[in-house]
């Protein structure tokens, strides 16, 4: 655990020193809400449309963060020095997934506020408990799969293409489940209950892909 924390701390320090991912993801989300507003020509969205707009936006924002997750390791060969340290290689996985999770939570807090103000046609407060549950499950999916995809992409010559290309389809099932789970929350008549089926699918995705990502991750770090 110790090395994971040291790594996580370094990532948060880098982000504080040169704040990039979080503000970028944030601004991106807000801009996208505005784009949607004009793009689809609706002043307010509810139900499945609301869930779709919110989650597609968060997914794209996450892709931004995933893209940069390993950049700092790559420049100047800093990663090599870390690889030579006497730490378990899965410590990276936890550190990076942890950092991404933290970033996502920060982004979601503000993005959700923006979304409620700009687009959402119903009051956000009653939806909160359910929404938090879904977002936590979604964040687990985004951060585990995202960490894997990011590590996969960083050694290629086209990181910024590989990340969305591989990451987006891979995350489609999680998006579907999250969007379906959220849709009743935003129903025009007041929040309905979350279909347990979709929580189950999302949880299954987290479990399967989280474990898989963890298991194969170290193969990405070897020479």
């Amino acid at each position: 655990m110790r090395p994971s924390l040291a790594l996580l701390r370094k990532d948060l320090l880098l982000e504080r020193r040169a704040p990039e991912s979080v503000p970028a993801m944030l601004l991106f989300s807000l801009t996208t809400f505005v784009l949607f507003h004009f793009g689809i020509g609706r002043d307010e969205v509810t139900g499945s449309l609301a869930a779709g707009v919110l989650l597609v936006t968060l997914l794209f924002a996450a892709i931004l963060g995933i893209n940069r997750l390993f950049v700092s390791e790559h420049e100047e060969g800093g990663f090599d020095a870390v690889l030579m340290a006497p730490i378990d290689r899965t410590a990276f996985f936890f550190a990076k997934a942890g950092a991404l999770f933290v970033f996502l939570v920060l982004v979601e807090i503000v993005a959700m506020a923006g979304f409620s103000i700009l687009l959402l046609g119903v009051s956000p407060w009653p939806t909160l408990p359910g929404l938090i549950l879904v977002l936590v499950l979604l964040n687990i999916a985004l951060s585990t799969v995202g960490t894997l995809v990011s590590a996969l992409a960083i050694q290629t010559r086209a990181r910024d293409l590989i990340v969305p290309l591989v990451g987006l389809p891979m995350l489609v099932p999680a998006l579907i489940a999250a969007a379906r789970a959220c849709a009743p929350l935003f129903a025009a008549g007041g929040p309905g209950s979350i279909p347990g089926k979709w929580l189950l699918v999302l949880g299954l995705y987290d479990l399967v892909f989280g474990l898989l990502a963890y298991a194969v991750f170290e193969f990405l770090l070897e020479d």
């Binding site: 110790r2 090395p3 040291a6 790594l7 701390r9 370094k10 320090l13 880098l14 020193r17 040169a18 700092s72 420049e75 100047e76 060969g77 800093g78 090599d80 020095a81 870390v82 690889l83 030579m84 340290a85 006497p86 730490i87 070897e222 020479d223």
Partner: protein
Amino acid sequence: MATAPAIELRGVGRRYGERLALVDVSVSVPAGATLVVFGPNGAGKSTLLRMLATLLRPHAGSARILGEPLPKRDWEVRGRIGLLAHEGMLYRDLSARENLRFHARLHKLPERRVEELLERSELLPRANDPVRTLSRGLLQRVAVCRSVLHDPELLLLDEPRANLDPAARALIEPLIGRVSGRTRVVTSHDPAGGLAEADIALGLRGGRTELLAPAAEVDTIAIEALYR
């Protein structure tokens, strides 16, 4: 008493794709000794160092570092090797101090050690600048500090004095020089200077061993012949 050699390579080979970067290299370095690697550009010196650092796995032959076979038991030697490569291996947006502190934490070292090194390499006035803004030579000094931070038993130095001014060279001598008392592998393009610090000289050319002898038995002419 026969202690195991710090480095023992037998017929080691390494490819990049189809290009052979090292072919059938066998060398043994006793603990505490200095191996200096000579050879023209592209001879495979950096590749050899990265392999000894466990960052590249050998594609042929067998390698033992600090008594452990590579790549099988590489986790046993991690943390006991220091590498100084062509690039600084630092986080560009963190300062020298933050970079070193991070590595200190990974190696479970006290922060005292970081301050001590910053002071000894006269980096204190620039310790809080992001390393991205340092000049090439200052960056090299930070990299030196990083490589010796955890007091490694085996030190791998790829042209350690490149880009350093004469004063800085003297300054880091106690850290990476012979007086540091570590087992060292150093690459060099300076026949006379290289030989002076060597116990064993290894000459590579096109990845193959052209010369391997105790430094005392080699003269600069033999080294210069490598480049012809």
